[in-house]
Subunit: 358 residues, 4 copies
C-alpha cells in the first residue's frame, strides 16, 4: 500500500518509473489555502536529478500537472491530484532485472510479492522517482504549515562518516533554515560540503556509492500534538520516513545516543521562560509520551548507499536458478542523501499537517 493514511490527510502515491505517469492524490487539505505553484516547482527542483555534480546527470521532466483540487490557486476542499508525465520510454537497460535481480533493490522481493508480474523497469513502483509525488504533497503541506508558523528544514548530517555540524536542538534561526532550503548541497558548515563532495566523487569514480544521514528539524510546532502509543508522533513520523526508499534507521532527539546516557543526563528539565512552560534542553527531540512538547522536533534518518553501482556484483537468474554476474549501467546518484533532504522535509510536513488538523 502506497497510501499514507493520516487521521485527516490521506496521501496516495502512484506510478512506476517507466509508466506513462507518476502522481499523487492528497485528500483532507483544508479548503481556502493558497498554493504557490512556482514555490512548489522550486521545491521539486531540490530533489530533481541533474542539479549538482554529485548527483546523477540524468534529467527528469519533473514538471507537475495539477489535475484537480484547486480553484483559482486555492484548495477547494476536493482531493488534490497531480501527475508528472514520464517522458522516458522503457529503457532496455532494465529488461534483464526481471530475471537477474539487482542486489540492494526490490527486484527480487517484488518478484516474490507479485508473482513475477511486477514492473521491474527502473525499479517500477519501488523507484526513488516515486519520491517526486511525495514532494508534491509535502510542498503543499509546507506552504500551509509555514503560514501557521511552522518551519521545517533538513540538511545532510553525515556522508560516509564525514559530518556536518548538528542542528542546535534548541532551534535554529529562520535565516539559517531558509539558507539550507536554497542551497544546492544543504549543509550548515560550509567546510563540510567540500569534504562530503569529495567522498561522494571518490566513490563515484570507483563505480561505487556512499550512504548518509539526513537530519530534520521542525521549529514552531505547538505543544500537544500526537497521542499515546501507536498514535504517538514518533510512530507517525517513522511510518512516513521509513516509507521513503533506502531509509534504514530513524531516531528522535538524542536517539540511539540516549541509550548510552543516564536519566539525569537525558531528562530535559522544565523551566519557566517568558512566563510560559518550556524546557532547558531538548534531548527528547520535542516529543514526550508521543506528544509534542513545544520544543523543535528533531530527527535523523539513515540512508543506505545507493544500491545501483557500476561495479560487477553477484546475483542469480530467478528462472534458471544459476549464479550470474551483474553490472548496473545507466546514470545513478553515487549518494542519495543530498537529494533526499527535501523528501525528508516532505514526509515530515505531511505528518505534521495531519496532526495539526486534528
Amino acid at each position: 500500500m502506497s497510501l499514507y493514511l493520516g487521521k485527516n490527510l490521506q496521501v496516495s502515491i502512484f506510478g512506476q518509473s517507466h509508466a506513462p505517469a507518476i502522481g499523487v492524490t492528497v485528500d483532507g487539505l483544508p479548503a481556502g489555502e493558497a498554493v504557490d505553484l512556482e514555490a512548489l516547482e522550486r521545491f521539486l527542483q531540490r530533489r530533481a536529478p541533474g542539479q549538482d555534480p554529485t548527483a546523477t546527470a540524468r534529467k527528469e521532466g519533473d514538471k507537475p500537472k495539477i489535475l484537480c483540487g484547486l480553484l483559482e490557486g486555492r484548495t477547494c476542499g476536493a482531493p488534490l491530484a497531480a501527475v508528472i508525465e514520464n517522458t522516458n520510454t522503457r529503457a532496455q537497460d532494465y529488461d534483464q532485472f526481471q530475471d537477474i535481480p539487482r542486489p540492494g533493490h526490490a527486484d527480487y522481493t517484488a518478484h516474490v510479492r507479485y508473482g513475477g508480474f511486477q514492473d521491474a523497469a527502473g525499479g517500477g513502483h519501488f523507484s526513488g522517482r516515486l519520491t517526486a509525488p511525495l514532494c508534491i504533497a509535502g510542498a503543499i503541506c509546507i506552504q500551509i504549515l509555514e503560514r501557521r508558523g511552522i518551519e521545517i528544514a533538513a540538511h545532510v548530517r553525515t556522508i560516509a562518516g564525514v559530518e556536518d555540524r548538528p542542528f542546535d536542538p534548541m532551534g535554529e534561526d529562520l535565516e539559517t533554515l531558509r539558507a539550507l532550503k536554497s542551497a544546492s548541497f544543504p549543509v550548515l558548515d560550509p567546510a563540510a560540503e567540500a569534504k562530503m563532495r569529495a567522498v561522494i566523487l571518490e566513490a563515484k569514480e570507483q563505480l561505487d556509492s556512499v550512504g548518509g544521514v539526513v537530519e530534520c528539524i521542525a521549529c514552531g510546532v505547538p505543544a500537544g500534538l500526537g497521542g499515546p502509543m501507536f498514535g504517538g508522533m514518533e510512530s507517525r513520523l517513522a511510518a512516513a520516513l521509513f516509507g521513503v526508499p533506502a531509509v534504514k534507521g530513524v531516531e528522535f532527539g538524542a536517539g540511539f545516543e540516549a541509550a548510552r546516557l543516564r536519566g539525569s543526563e537525558n531528562n530535559d528539565p522544565f523551566v519557566i521562560k517568558n512566563g510560559a512552560v518550556s524546557l532547558k534542553s531538548n534531548r527528547a527531540g520535542g516529543i514526550l509520551g508521543g506528544i509534542t512538547d513545544g520544543m523543535p522536533l528533531l530527527m535523523r534518518v539513515a540512508f543506505k548507499p545507493t544500491p545501483s553501482i557500476g561495479r560487477e556484483q553477484d546475483s542469480v537468474s530467478l528462472t534458471r536458478k544459476t549464479p550470474e554476474k551483474l553490472k548496473v549501467h545507466g546514470r545513478h546518484d553515487p549518494c542519495i542523501a543530498p537529494r533526499a533532504v527535501p523528501v525528508v522535509e516532505a514526509a515530515v510536513a505531511v505528518v505534521l499537517l495531519d496532526a495539526l488538523l486534528s
Copy 2:
C-alpha cells in the same frame, strides 16, 4: 490513539496505571488457533517487575483474565479481550505530578493535550505498565507464528555502552533463541550480563538510571511480506515499536551503520542455496523495498534511560508558573531495556502475524 490498526489484526490497548484495570482487544486473529494460557503467563512474567535484582522490586499482579474470544482454548473468530486488574490503589506519590510534571515523562504533554483532565497517577495511560496488555496480544501472536515456523527473540544489545555480542544476521539456532527467552537477563554472551548488571546497579545506587538498546531477530519469515513505501515492513514495524514508551530510535539491518558504508559493502549479493534464491549476507535486515527477502528480520530499538530517578530535578508548577524542585519517589527500574525485551518481541509479533495473514 492506542490502536494498532493492521490490515488484518487490530490491537487496541486501554487502561491507566491506577484505573480499575488495563487490557487489550485483539481483532482478526485466525479462528481455531490454540492459545496456551500458561505459556502466555510465562511470557508476561518476562516483563513483570520484581523478577530480577536490576529491576524494580515493585510487584504487579499481572495475571490476565481472558474475557472473550476463546472457546475451549482456541480462538473462535470473535475479538479476543483480556484485562489485568489493578490492585494498587491510587498512590499519593503521584498526586503532585498533576501540577509539577516529571522531566522525561508525558505529564506535561498529556496536560496540554487533554486540557488538564488527564489521569496523571502513575503516568496514567502513558505508563510503561500499558506494555503488559501489548504483551498479551504479542504472546498470542507468537504462539500462532511459532506454529508457522517463525521464531522471534530479542536480547539486551547494549546498556550504557556495555555491549552484548550482536545477533548473527544470517540467523541463530533455535536453541540459542529459546535460551534467551527463558533467561531472566537475556543476553547472548554471559560475560556481558555481569557487566551490564554492574552498570545498572551502579546507576541505581546513585539514584540514577541508564538506557539501552534491544536487538530483535525474527527467523523463518517467508519472502514476500510487506509492500512498497508506507506499507513497507520497516514502516509497519517502526510504527509499532515507537508505540512502546521510551523508544527513541529504530533501525533495521545495518541501520545507521549503513550510512557509513559503500554500496559495494552494503549490498547483499544474491546466491543460489539448495536450489533456491538466497542472500550471501544480511545487511538489509531481511527487508528490501519494504518487502521481506527470506532472510532473518533484524532490528535494533533504542530505549532512553528511565526518566524516573530518585535525584532532585528541576521542574515547574503548571498552575503557578514557578520553578520547582522535584524528586520522584517510589520504586522504579533503573533500566528499562531488560524488561523491554519481551515487549519488543510482542510488538514485532503483532506486525508479523498481521502481514502473514494477508
Copy 3:
C-alpha cells in the same frame, strides 16, 4: 471486524453471549467531558430485556463496569473501556446449533467463516446482546452531544405494518423527544402503542415473531458535517446502522419514497429564516451531497422479525448433511424493534460525535 473506525472515534465491541464478559472500548472521546453513570445505566435499561410484556422475560445483568478512561467522573483522554459480566453459564439449549444452524441466524455463516471454531452458544459474537456495549458507547456520546445542543431520539415507526405517526421532518420539540426516551414502548401516537402491542402478542402466542421499522431523528445538528462520496454522512450512518444485528434496510429523508417523486416535489427549496439560510422542507433528511444542511437528520431502519421462533423449522445437520427439524427453545423477543430504539440512537450518536469532532 467489530470495530467502528471513525475519523476521530474508534468503538471496538467485544464479547460473546456466553463468554465471561462483553464490552467495549471507545477511543477519541474529548477529554474533560462529564459522564453521568446513572444516566448511562438508565439508557442501557431501555434496551434491557424484561422491561415490557412484549419483550423477552429473560433477565440480563446489564450493569456496566467502567474499567478506565474516566477520572473523577470525567473523560481523561485515555481510551474508555467498559465491560458487562455475563452471569449466565453456558446453556445447554445452544449446544445443538453448532451442528444444526438456526434459520435466520448467523450460525451457519459463522461456521463457514470460522471453520467450525465459532462460539455458537447464544449466537456468540453475533448475539443481539452485543448491542449492549454499543449502547454504552452511544450513551456517553449522547451526553456529550446534548451538551452541544444535539438531541437524538427514535421511535417504533411500524410493527408488522401497524404505523405510528412519522416524525415531523422539520423537527419535533424537545418535550416530545424526551418523552420518547422515558417511554417503555416509544411511540408518538399513544393509539399506535396498543395496536402494536396487540400484533406482537398475537405473534408471540402463535410462537412467531414480527419485524418493524425504527425511525430516528437528530435535531440541532449544525450544517457542514460530512463530506463527498464514501465520506458522506449517509455512508457513515448506514455503515454503523447495518452493523446492528437484524437490520436489513436504511433510508434517509424521503428514502425509497423519493424514488417515486418528481424533482419538483423532492427538492427542498432554500429560504431565509431569521436572517439565515434554511430549507422550506426536509425531504433530504438533513443531508445534501453527504454533508449536513442544518435540518434535522431523519432516517428509518428496517428490522427483520426475530429469527428465533418457537415453531418447528427446517434446517440441516452440518456434519451429517441431512435435513433436520429444529425448534428454538428459550425466551426470545417476539419483536426486536422496541428494544432496538436506543440501539439505533446509540449508533447514530457515535457517528454524529465522530463527525462533530472533525
Copy 4:
C-alpha cells in the same frame, strides 16, 4: 473523504466537474490480472450520457487513460491510476451557483463545509460525473470477479412507481444477466421499458425529473465473506452505495418488506442440495449475520429524482441573504436511475473483490 478504504482494496476518487481531469487510484488489486481495456470502455459507455433518448444529450469524453498499474495488459501489483480528461471548459451556467445554491444539490452544504472556497462549477467534486472514475475501478474488479465465477448485474427496478419484474432471489441465469449488461435501458421485462421511458419523457417535457430504484444481484458469491457488526457485508456495501450521489435508501433481501413479515415467513430454511448446505429461499439477500451464505446477494438502491430541473425554483443568495428564483439551465438527465445501473454494479464489485481478497 472520497476514499473507499477496504481491507485489501483502496479506491480513491478525485476530480471536479470542470477541473482539468477526474480520475481514480486503485490500490491492492491482485497482481497478474488481465485488464481488457475495451471491455472497460464498453462498461463506461453504459453510464456515459448521450446513449439513450431518456438521458441527457450532453456528450462527455469518457475515454479513460491508464497512467500506471498495468504491465503488458496485466496488473503489476503497483497502484493503478486512471484519468479522464475534461474537455468542457468552465461553463458560465454554473457561475451563479457559487452564490445561489441549487435545491437538492450540494452547492449550499459544500459552501458551508469548505468556507466558500468550493468549486461549484458543475457541482465540482459532488458532480455525478465523479461516478465515471468509480466505474473504472468497478469495471476492473468485475473482470477479476468474473474469472472467479461471480457475476454482478443490475436493472432499473422502478421509475416513479413503474415497476420492472424483480430479480428472482434464488438467482438468474447468466444469459439474462449478460443481456441486461448489453441493454441501453436495462430491464428484465421489455414491457416495463416502454412505460418507464414514457414517464421519464413526460417528466422531461414538463421540465421535471423522476426518481427510481436500481436492483442489483451478485451470483456465485461464496459463503463466508464478511464478518460481524460493522465489518458485515451490509455495512460495507451500504457505505459504498451511499457514496454514490443521489442514493437515499439501501436495502438487502426482503429489506423494508421484512419489517412487515413474521419470522416464520422471513426465515430462510436450510436444505441439503446436491449434498451441500443450501437455502430454500433468499429473503436474507444472501447475507446472515453480516456474512455471505452462498445465495445470491440481492439489494435495492433508491435514487432520488435528478435535482437539476428546468423549472423555476426557490432559493436564496448566500451573500445577500435574500430569497431568489433559480432555473437550472443546461442538459440534465430527467432520471438518473438508468445510467446509475453500472455505477451500482461498480460499487458492489469493489466491495466484493475486497471481501474476496481477505
